[in-house]
Structures are given as structure tokens and as C-alpha cells.
């Protein structure tokens, strides 16, 4: 399968890219192309103009500033995965990144591109929602920052306007008194998640949790927090009974219907199990970090 016809521009600055994108209502941004090109090859996407941002120098690199890991738009998945500063600042990113497709795809695909693609089963959007990060966009009307819980609307749909370029994403650094964990259920390594769950748990000095954040992907049309399960675990020492109750509550959030990958019932069980395991793992890791 070959992509349909399009025009192509490769601007050198973000300003030029914004102008190019605004010049055509059917234009799309091309970053790594690891979701867009298959979509075009399948004729699921048919942009009239591709604005390739790979030569925009200001869109490259990773910085850690003010408690945020700042990921520029052309940062490839593998760059973020192998960055030792990022691993030290927030090990969750490294752990989740290893589940994103395969190394050759992660060498080309970009982190911000994955956020903008917004597949409901993808790992990177879940991480942004779980950590409470944000996406910064620039369009003809200027720049704005969109919080993660405002960004994802539906499968493949975000609140980024079509004339805006997402130029960076911000992932908060993990606090020293917190632990995190991510895992997913898939048929094969590298597949999109049938269900994925991430947990961030903050511990008090008395061994109880002071804050629990849980998020899931693959179970609704977008990545979601699991507020009922979070509530059941906050202020507890995460006994087996607490974890089971949280797992049951999390299963209620599953709205995905039966599909060729899994039934609704299977996804409910997967989410419940993952919530139990990830919350417990995050607590163990938080204790290790505090002990250090």
C-alpha cells in the first residue's frame, strides 16, 4: 500500500511550520510518521499537505526544569527511553516506553506524535494523564498549554485545533516520597494494550498512602484516571482487601465493548488485576525510594 497524493513542505522554524499548517485546512503535521504513514497507506488519512517538522532545530531535545521533564516535538520514543536523566527524574517514563511498539518503531516515532495521535490504547497518553502533565501548542492565535485531562477527547481525537502544532509535552518529575509502576496485558510484545494500568503512590511517614493516582488505557475511548479506585486506596496501608476493592471499582470504568482482541468481561478482569498489582508495586517502590 502506498500513501495517497499530497504536497510536502519541510520548514526550518516553528513559525514557518505554523504558517504552513494554517495555509491548508487539510494539512497535517508529520513528525516520526509511525502512525500517520500506516494510516495514509491504508487511506484512513488523506492530508493534502504534509508539514514535516523534522528539520526544525528548536523542536529537538529533552530538558528537565522546574520539576518538569520537557519533551520537544521531534524527540523520538527511544531517546526518551534511553535518557539516564529522565530515568532518574521519573522511572515511570522508561518503564512505559519499553511497551511502545518495537525498537525500530521507537527509533522513528515521537513522544508528542503519540500524544497527538491519541490512540485510546496507547501507553504515552496514559502516562501524561497519570502524571498530570500537559501539551503545549502553537497556532496562528498564539501559544497555549493544555492539561492532560483536557487534551484527550476520544479515540484519535484531542482538543488541539487543526491549525495548532504541539511543540512540546511536559511530564512532572516523580516526588522523592512516591513510587510508580506500569504494566499492560497484550497478546504479543509491542502490541497496543488490551488493557494497561499505571500507578503513582505517595507515602506518609506512618506507612499509609497520602495520594494515589491510577490511570488506564485500552478500556475506554481515551486514557482515563480511575478516581473511585484511587479514593479506596488513599489513606490506607494497601491491605489485600483494599487492593481487591480498588480492582473491583476500577473494573466499573471499562466501557470498551467486545472486540476482536478481547471481550468486555476480559478487559474488566485485566484492569482489576493490573490495578491490584500496579498499586502494590508502586508502594513497594515508594518504600524503597524513601528508605534510600
Amino acid at each position: 500500500m502506498k500513501p495517497p497524493l499530497f504536497r510536502y513542505q519541510a520548514p526550518r522554524t516553528l513559525k514557518e511550520a505554523v504558517v504552513a499548517l494554517a495555509s491548508d485546512p487539510d494539512a497535517m503535521v508529520l513528525a516520526g510518521g509511525q502512525s500517520l504513514l500506516p494510516a495514509m497507506n491504508f487511506r484512513l488519512a488523506n492530508p493534502s499537505l504534509l508539514v514535516d517538522i523534522q528539520h526544525v532545530a528548536e523542536l529537538k531535545g529533552i530538558a528537565i526544569e522546574g520539576g518538569q521533564i520537557i519533551v520537544k516535538a521531534m524527540t523520538r520514543h527511544r531517546e526518551l527511553e534511553l535518557d539516564e536523566r529522565v530515568r532518574a527524574a521519573n522511572p515511570l517514563l522508561n518503564e512505559a516506553m519499553a511497551h511502545v511498539a518495537h525498537i525500530p518503531i521507537r527509533n522513528r516515532g515521537t513522544v508528542v506524535g503519540s500524544l497527538c495521535h491519541a490512540d485510546g490504547a496507547a501507553e504515552v497518553p496514559l502516562v501524561l494523564v497519570l502524571l498530570g502533565g500537559s501539551v503545549l501548542v502553537e497556532g496562528p492565535a498564539g501559544r497555549r498549554e493544555i492539561a492532560a485531562d483536557e487534551f484527550f477527547r476520544f479515540h484519535l481525537t484531542t482538543t488541539r485545533r487543526r491549525d495548532e502544532i504541539a511543540f512540546e509535552a511536559r511530564f512532572p518529575v516523580l516526588r522523592a516520597d512516591s513510587g510508580s509502576a506500569f504494566d499492560e496485558v497484550t497478546r504479543r510484545h509491542g502490541d497496543y494494550a488490551i488493557a494497561g494500568v499505571g500507578a503513582v503512590v505517595r507515602m506518609n511517614a506512618d506507612g499509609r498512602t497520602s495520594e494515589v493516582r491510577l490511570a488506564a488505557c485500552g478500556v475506554t475511548s481515551r486514557p482515563i484516571r480511575l478516581p473511585e479506585a484511587e479514593k479506596l486506596l488513599t489513606g490506607t496501608a494497601l491491605s489485600e482487601a483494599d487492593l481487591k476493592a480498588a480492582g473491583r471499582a476500577a473494573a466499573e470504568a471499562v466501557t470498551a465493548p467486545d472486540d476482536m482482541h478481547a471481550s468486555n468481561a476480559y478487559r474488566r478482569r485485566a484492569v482489576a488485576t493490573l490495578v491490584r498489582r500496579m498499586a502494590a508495586k508502586a508502594v513497594t517502590r515508594a518504600r524503597e525510594r524513601i528508605g534510600r
Binding site: 510518521g33 525498537i103 527509533n107
Partner: protein, 176 residues
């Protein structure tokens, strides 16, 4: 309709917008004017006649078309040649020495009988080559190798010999 009539009715030129690309392939500078929608895989095979890069699924699943782009493995079917502007591309053709001596990974595949039909082999080898080029330690357990190869499908071997070949290649390449 006669063949001549048919040929006269067919378009002789493409309406595709074109682009001048300049990149390095296996150490040689190449410059071509191509359609902007030409995939890197088609550029390698049709323009440069480097047919060692195989094309399986053309949507990033099978891994047969894997090449190195600026030293890192990538799917040539999910990369426009326009995206390889100025890049250094390495294909399977560059691995063996001029005198035909096999690269360590190729030698290991031969020794371990890690291929039958061979269609997936160039992509397998370029993926492993890319991983060997990274400084990070290799996980040479069965699980680690399976994870490394998870983006490459083989329908002949059942993978067991390929896993053995990766381990052997790591020995031969001094990465074990």
C-alpha cells in the same frame, strides 16, 4: 483494444509533486528527483535496485523492510524518502565485506540455520545490527532476545534457531 491504442491512452507522466532528495546510502551519495510520496523502501528497491531490503506488509508490522537511518533501525516502509533527506541509510547490502566475508550476524544466522525462505532475514539482521550498535548492554536471555526480535515476523523457523543465532552473533561480535 490493441496494445498500441491502450498504451497511447495511458498517462505517460505522473501528476505527483516531486522533490529533489540527496542522501547517503551505504556510504555513497545519491541524488534523485522523486515523487514526494515515494517510500524509502521503494526508493531503495526501485530507484537504487537494492533489493535486499524486502517489503512485506507496508504498515510496520512485519519488520522485513528494516534498515538503519542515521545508525538507528527503522522501517523503510514507514519512512518517506523525503524524510531521509540528508540522512545516512544503511541496508543489508553493506554488511558483508567486499570480498564476500559475512558479517558476524550473517555468519551466526548461517551457522545456526536461522533462516529457511529468507524473506524476513534482511529485516531481522538490520534490526539486530542496529541494537548491537547501541552502547546499552544486551539482554541475551531467551526473553530478552524475543523482545529484541518482537518487531520482526518469521513464518518459517519458529524463531528457535534465530534466538540461537542472536546469541552466537553476540559472541562473534564481542557483545556477549
Amino acid at each position: 483494444m490493441t496494445r498500441g491504442n491502450l498504451q497511447r491512452r495511458l498517462a505517460q507522466t505522473s501528476d505527483d509533486p516531486t522533490l529533489e532528495v540527496s542522501l547517503t546510502v551505504n556510504g555513497e551519495r545519491v541524488e534523485r528527483v522523486v515523487s514526494v510520496r515515494m517510500l524509502l523502501s521503494d526508493f531503495l528497491r526501485h530507484e537504487l535496485r537494492l533489493t535486499g531490503t524486502h517489503v512485506g506488509c507496508e504498515h510496520g508490522i512485519c519488520g522485513c523492510c528494516t534498515v538503519l537511518i542515521d545508525g538507528k533501525s527503522g522501517r523503510s516502509c514507514l519512512t518517506l524518502v523525503a524524510q531521509a533527506q540528508g540522512a545516512e541509510v544503511t541496508t543489508i547490502e553493506a554488511l558483508a565485506a567486499e570480498d564476500g566475508r559475512l558479517h558476524a550476524i550473517q555468519q551466526a544466522f548461517k551457522e545456526c540455520h536461522a533462516l529457511q525462505c529468507g524473506f524476513c532475514t534482511p529485516g531481522m539482521i538490520m534490526n539486530i545490527f542496529g541494537r548491537f550498535n547501541e552502547p546499552q548492554a544486551l539482554d541475551l536471555t531467551d526473553d530478552g532476545i524475543r523482545t529484541m526480535l518482537s518487531g520482526n515476523l518469521c513464518r518459517c523457523t519458529g524463531y528457535v534457531n534465530i534466538i540461537a543465532a542472536v546469541r552466537r552473533a553476540a559472541q562473534l561480535a564481542g557483545r556477549a
